[in-house]
Symmetry: C2
Subunit: 381 residues, 2 copies
């Protein structure tokens, strides 16, 4: 058993910690097992790391996972139990109970996101505590290998950003819209080129944002239709490496055409806020303090915060197997430690001006941070 | 309120049904709201369909969702509660409690996958029942619009299959490996071409399988490295339309080079089993009966079932917003109804011969099924 797991179980008075889910939606399960499965399986982290999988997955789990043991539900007679009850959930629960008893566990921890139905049923026979998943906290501190994986994904991200920025810079403002090769340049086209570039580099990206003008005032709007001339366009790319499963994340804001003084000033404030955030990061400081530094820059510049306007989100978040994970750079941001990987992404959003956001990805070090992002910050192309 | 929701709530003696999660991992939430969010939000299905989202998502949710009302957590003072407690989970729970009380709900249903932590905490103040999500059952019966979306995704799937099969058929067996343009043709290359083709058609595919020889004996192995000559290669593609979010699914098995008699016989048995499964499908029959017909064909051919060998999986599954959803064509398969969309995918797997699988996607009709798959079944290229 790893020392941090032993310490956690001892402190929480637990025999083991139990996860049930798929590794796409439960990155903690992938983290602890390195077994990628889009179908539900069970992971028990205790004396050993044990996987309980369907017989169809047992061979692959034995080959691919780092678990100490892989057990098939057929070893516990899942089909016989299914024939007896006709109810897959009941059969699974019976198998699970036997699997847990055989491993001598009685006091079990389960994560906050554990399925309520299984929690309710298991509580009849086991002593179950719902507690924050320890793996979510462990994941916040990256190994060298994890940092390399994220660095590599960020390289792909920058190449895709280059493709996007080149497309926009090679377009022509005509009236209120950008044109390229005789046609309006759309969010969809730019996103498509970004995705092909990422695919070539072994990455996928589901929700890439290419949003201009008023659309970008909503920080999560993906953008659609012709891109505006003379207005800021936010490009936010968060690819995931298919091989390593680690994410990267970066945002740039660019403008093709004539720039308004308002937009220029907003961009400068965001750049200054980002610099202040980056300068504040070091092990031992808190995400809350970093966020406060960023907020202060916007206050100093006189940008008001109103419902849905101004700096409407937090300064940043951890990135790893999830695109949003611990630690947080926000009003509730915890203390940063070496090897945290976080974004620094201040933004300003006003319906009458548009949205501006700049996002870098950095590794927290003892005295500062290492910026994994080398893409220039330049508003007007 | 929709009649089927009213009937469900009345029968279960509930005021409303509550979901908490993100629409990527909880397709029921996307189904009921049509709001795509990768961050957690809350959906209450009762008198109205109500969304509780962060202030950053409120604008987009109002624009994009089909919910009757969108409420921002800031309307319930999430930030003030966060400042008071310092604990995001507690602040969220307090907001959620007020949101639910304001809507006059006391008796709440939550799905089996509902987060255990919130279930435990809400149970203190509300009467909570963990029950199967009704939306998962409603989703099994598709509207015309949903069938169109799946049909379109299956067209993209077939185009990608064509690309894959053409690559393999234009390769040359050299020794035990396929070569193309002077290099070994790999699983990764074929998968890459499939993914680019799908991307061009607005689809994504995460876990495409291109696996030959012994690798394909594990039905979920994605495949890697050079593809074998003279051995069956399983190609299983399940793309999701980025626009509609609906999946398609199909599998073909092909061979380039000299075919063994064993493989040919296995392929014929699988084709016959698939035909038997397809012929058995109609509204009113059960998924269990369809599965039994398929199993019988393999028995008639004398293929033994041993742990991890033979026909190791079920005959099929529903396809929609999830690639695996209701109904199931298996030993516990429920009664089929018109407008179910299911796969029919028998396969045989033996370590010494390889794997063969054929998978079509069909719509259940009153008297038969409509096959959405028009790609030829041909082993030797």
């Amino acid at each position: 058993m790893k020392p941090e797991l032993k310490a956690f179980l001892d402190q929480s008075e637990l025999d083991a910690f139990l996860y049930i889910g798929d590794s796409l939606c439960e990155p903690d399960m992938y983290y602890l097992s390195r077994f990628m499965a889009s179908d539900r399986f069970t992971l028990l982290a205790g004396e050993k790391t044990s996987l309980l999988v369907s017989s169809m997955e047992a061979g692959r789990a034995s080959k691919e996972s780092i678990a100490n043991e892989v057990v098939s539900t057929s070893e516990y007679g899942i089909m016989e139990k299914l024939h007896a009850t006709g109810k897959p959930d009941e059969a699974y629960l019976a198998v699970l109970g036997e699997f847990l008893r055989d491993r001598g566990v009685r006091r079990l921890g389960v994560p906050l996101r554990f399925p309520a139905g299984i929690y309710r049923d298991l509580s009849r026979d086991f002593d179950i505590s719902v507690v924050g998943s320890p793996a979510s906290r462990w994941r916040a501190v990256k190994t060298d290998g994890e940092i390399s994986a994220i660095r590599e994904a960020q390289r792909a991200c920058e190449e895709a950003m280059r493709v996007a920025v080149d497309l926009i810079s090679s377009s022509e403002p005509k009236g209120e819209v950008l044109f390229r090769q005789g046609e309006a340049l759309t969010s969809e086209q730019v996103r498509g080129k970004i995705e092909v570039c990422l695919l070539d580099r072994g990455c996928e990206a589901v929700d890439t944002i290419v949003a201009g003008g008023a659309v970008a005032v909503d920080p999560h709007a993906r953008g659609c239709g012709p891109l505006p001339a003379n207005e800021p366009i936010v490009i936010d790319i968060f690819p995931r490496s298919k091989q390593s499963r680690y994410f990267a994340d970066m945002t740039r804001t660019v403008l093709q055409g004539e720039v308004d003084r308002d937009v220029e000033e907003m961009y400068e404030a965001v750049r200054e806020a980002q610099d202040a955030g980056l300068a504040a990061i070091r092990a031992g400081t808190s995400g809350r303090d970093v966020h406060a530094k960023v907020v202060q820059v916007f206050r100093d510049h006189g940008y008001p915060e109103r419902e849905g306007c101004g700096f409407t989100h937090s300064t940043g978040h951890g990135v790893g197997l999830n695109v949003h994970e611990l630690p947080s750079l926000s009003e509730v941001g915890e203390t940063l430690v070496e090897r945290n990987v976080v974004t620094v992404e201040p933004g300003l959003y006003y319906p009458d001006i548009g949205g501006v956001r700049l996002e870098d990805l950095v590794v927290v070090t003892a005295k500062a941070c290492e910026n994994l992002t080398h893409f220039e910050r330049k508003l007007v192309l």
